[in-house]
């Protein structure tokens, strides 16, 4: 009888400790957030108190590693990024611009965006950028004194500009961010102004192919917005999501005139021209017959994702889709100017060839 009572008391005690620990902890997390100054509203709708000095940041979203590098003017303050971002860096143009970026740690964040908060604590960043659906991670980060800032995966240019400005505010680099967003707006307006002319010409039927598994960009994809802005019509605009897998029959039915191949996959125009992919027959598609399959460019990051170089993507698409209409700029000259203005980099013709994937597109 006595032993049994002792047992019940033991178990009861353990449970009490557990519950007490949990609830006391839940209250304490309030008092642990950082102290001073400015606050911003992030893309998750949260009011975020910014610490006075920010010396280190961690970046979970993949495209934002390079974007934040661009706004901050270098990788000095970046201490931890997504391993996929590092992989993208290595295949991009960035190593020529900043070899030191390669030393950033990728051990704290995993490809599926999970953060090992303890490991991150060892690096002591003040800020961690996360996606706006990572609510659980935000709680954990706040509790150990790291301020989470939520970013949005942009579906259009407005979203993207908000993200860029937010990053500028957080890093104290509002000017640089505004320069970038101003350039974004300028380019966007150029194409919007051309809308009347665009309406009078026939829109080219464009298909944006992500990979060899036939995943295509749908209505919610930022590229949908971009290509429609530049005189194209997305054959897959009827599909709601950002990316949807379709089959060969559907593609035959659409019969696009232009096909873009993303940098999320190794696929190149040759694969379609030579029908190298098993089970797929591209020979009857207009884009293939007329040799109008293009590998999208990749600068400091792939142009397929909403990022710093998005205005260049718009221009590039314009030059392919409606060259007669958009005669008044030279994409190569504009590229040179852009990289000079924003990254203080002098690009050679070879560099531009690499970025524009001239080899693959010949």
């Amino acid at each position: 009888m006595k032993k049994r009572m002792l047992l019940v008391i033991c178990i009861g005690l353990i449970m009490c400790i557990a519950i007490a620990g949990c609830s006391s902890q839940a209250k304490e997390s309030e008092s642990k957030t950082a102290e001073k100054l400015t606050s911003v509203v992030d893309q998750g709708g949260n009011e975020v108190q910014l610490p006075e000095t920010i010396t280190k940041v961690a970046i979970t979203p993949i495209p934002w590693a390079s974007a934040i590098w661009a706004i901050d003017g270098g990788s000095q303050r970046i201490v931890s990024i997504n391993p996929s971002a590092m992989a993208a860096y290595k295949t991009s143009f960035m190593p020529t611009l900043d070899p030191a970026f390669a030393t950033i740690s990728t051990a704290e964040i995993t490809k599926d965006f999970t953060i090992n908060v303890e490991a991150l604590m060892n690096l002591k960043p003040e800020i961690a950028f996360i996606w706006n659906d990572q609510t659980a991670e935000a709680e954990q980060l706040k509790a150990v004194g790291i301020t989470p800032v939520m970013l949005n995966y942009a579906e259009n240019l407005e979203d993207l500009k908000k993200d860029l400005l937010l990053v500028g505010q957080v890093l104290g680099k509002e000017d640089e961010a505004e320069k970038l967003t101003a350039y974004h707006t300028e380019i966007e307006n150029y194409f919007i102004d051309k809308k009347a002319e665009l309406d009078s010409v026939s829109k080219k039927k464009v298909m944006y192919l992500r990979n060899s598994k036939l995943s295509v960009a749908g209505a919610k994809n930022i590229n949908n917005y971009l290509l429609e802005l530049t005189g194209g019509a997305n054959v897959a605009a009827g599909l709601d999501k950002q990316w949807s897998e379709v089959n060969m029959e559907q593609i035959l039915q659409w019969n696009p005139e232009i096909i873009y191949l993303s940098n999320f996959d190794e696929i190149v125009p040759e694969d379609l021209y030579q029908n190298k992919i098993e089970g797929q027959d591209w020979s009857n598609i207009d884009a293939v017959k007329n040799h109008r399959v293009y590998k999208t460019p990749m600068g400091i990051y792939r142009y397929d994702a909403p990022c710093v170089e998005t205005p260049l993507m718009i221009k590039w698409m314009g030059s392919i889709q409606q060259p007669e209409l958009f005669k008044d700029y030279d994409i190569r000259k504009d590229l040179k100017a852009f990289y000079k203005a924003f990254f203080s980099a002098d690009l050679t013709d070879e560099n531009i060839d690499t970025i524009l994937k001239v080899d693959a597109n010949s």
């Binding site: 353990i14 902890q25 303890e118 509790a143």
Partner: protein, 345 residues
């Protein structure tokens, strides 16, 4: 008189064993709280814990307390609660359905929870939404399983099990559709990760949400231990001994389902625990549920706590729990079956 002493000694053995297991669990808790990327020693852990219960001053370094109480402690509590609950559910089902090979997912609660969570992920309603979806999905699946026999007018154990197979199969197919629709970049990865089980992101408030229901279910099951023994003899014999089989079975199923659904909603689906741990318990104390159920709970807590600690320390990436429970559980199960081969018919 001599016989009375004999019986008392046996009872002492069991109580001693249970106390020993609880002590092992306690020690494992302390050890687990020390382990992780951020180095913390055992005295520091004990200090942090003590300062949270008694009016003592807290450790100097605020980070230590954060890591122990905010990052690790919720996981430890979740591991014990979930591991113990899954093991308990498994043991209970094995008794009620007279089959040592059944798991808590017999009636489809885990598959239903997967569907519920996956739908929530597709809609994109955040962590709490996913938990509610999982819980609802699990409960609905079991409701479907238990209603089907009524429609066929056959409420035997066999019918329930068949019904569970049907519902489980249905849920798997729906899962297939959902995975097909899901965005392979974001949603599909999240669904798959959830399915493989993890308590990495478990928040204290989630635990507090489900804990009351779970504790209630555990208490009811413990109260019904003797009746579960009798149910394991078979429906006819149980009835001849005065047990209302339908009612008792219904209560037990509700409690076990509640336990499993609550566990799955905060941790995702974790396999093998509900199957293997009761076997280990049976090897230690026999099939008498008066002893088996408490032992299963504690063993389940120890098992999952060990596994979760390994999952978060072995690499900097978070290993999903089902992978480890499978890798460790399956060979261990084989070993147990080898030892047990005498007793299986």
């Amino acid at each position: 008189m001599l016989k009375d002493i004999n019986l008392k000694e046996k009872r002492l053995n069991f109580s001693a064993l249970l106390v020993l297991l609880v002590i092992i669990l306690g020690a494992l808790v302390i050890v687990s709280l020390c382990m992780g990327r951020f180095p913390i020693s055992i005295p520091e852990v004990i200090h942090v814990l003590a300062a949270n219960i008694l009016p003592l001053p807290q450790v100097g370094d605020a980070n230590v307390e954060s890591v122990v109480m905010t990052l690790r402690f919720p996981r430890v509590v979740a591991a014990i609660l979930v591991g113990g609950s899954l093991a308990l559910s498994g043991a209970v089902y094995q008794g009620v359905f007279q089959n040592p090979l059944v798991s808590p997912d017999l009636l489809g609660v885990s598959s239903g929870a997967c569907v519920g969570a996956a739908i929530a992920i597709l809609i994109g309603i955040g962590t709490i939404g996913i938990q509610i979806g999982a819980f609802a999905g699990g409960i609905l699946a079991v409701a479907l399983t238990t209603t089907t026999p009524k429609l066929i007018k056959n409420s035997s154990n066999m019918m329930l099990v068949m019904s569970g197979i049907i519902v489980g199969g249905l849920m798997s197919s729906i899962m297939g559709i959902i995975k097909y629709i899901a965005d392979p970049e974001t949603e599909l990865a999240e669904i798959t990760y959830w399915q493989m089980g993890s308590i990495a992101k478990v928040l204290p408030k989630s635990i507090l949400m489900v804990a009351p229901a779970m504790i209630l279910a555990i208490i009811i099951i413990m109260v019904l231990r003797w009746k579960i023994n009798v149910l394991s003899l078979g429906e006819t014999e149980a009835r001849s001994l005065g047990i209302n089989v339908k009612t008792t079975r219904r209560i037990v199923i509700i409690c076990a389902t509640l336990l499993t659904a609550s566990s799955v909603c905060i941790s995702g689906t974790i396999g093998w625990v509900g199957l293997v741990v009761p076997h280990l318990g049976r090897l230690m104390v026999g099939p008498n549920n008066m002893k088996l159920l408490p032992v299963s709970f504690v063993l389940g807590g120890i098992f999952l706590l060990m596994i979760d600690t390994i999952a978060r320390t072995i690499t900097s990436a978070e290993l999903p729990l089902s992978i480890l429970t499978g890798l460790i559980g399956a060979p261990f199960y084989f070993y147990l079956l080898k030892k047990e081969r005498m007793n299986l018919s």
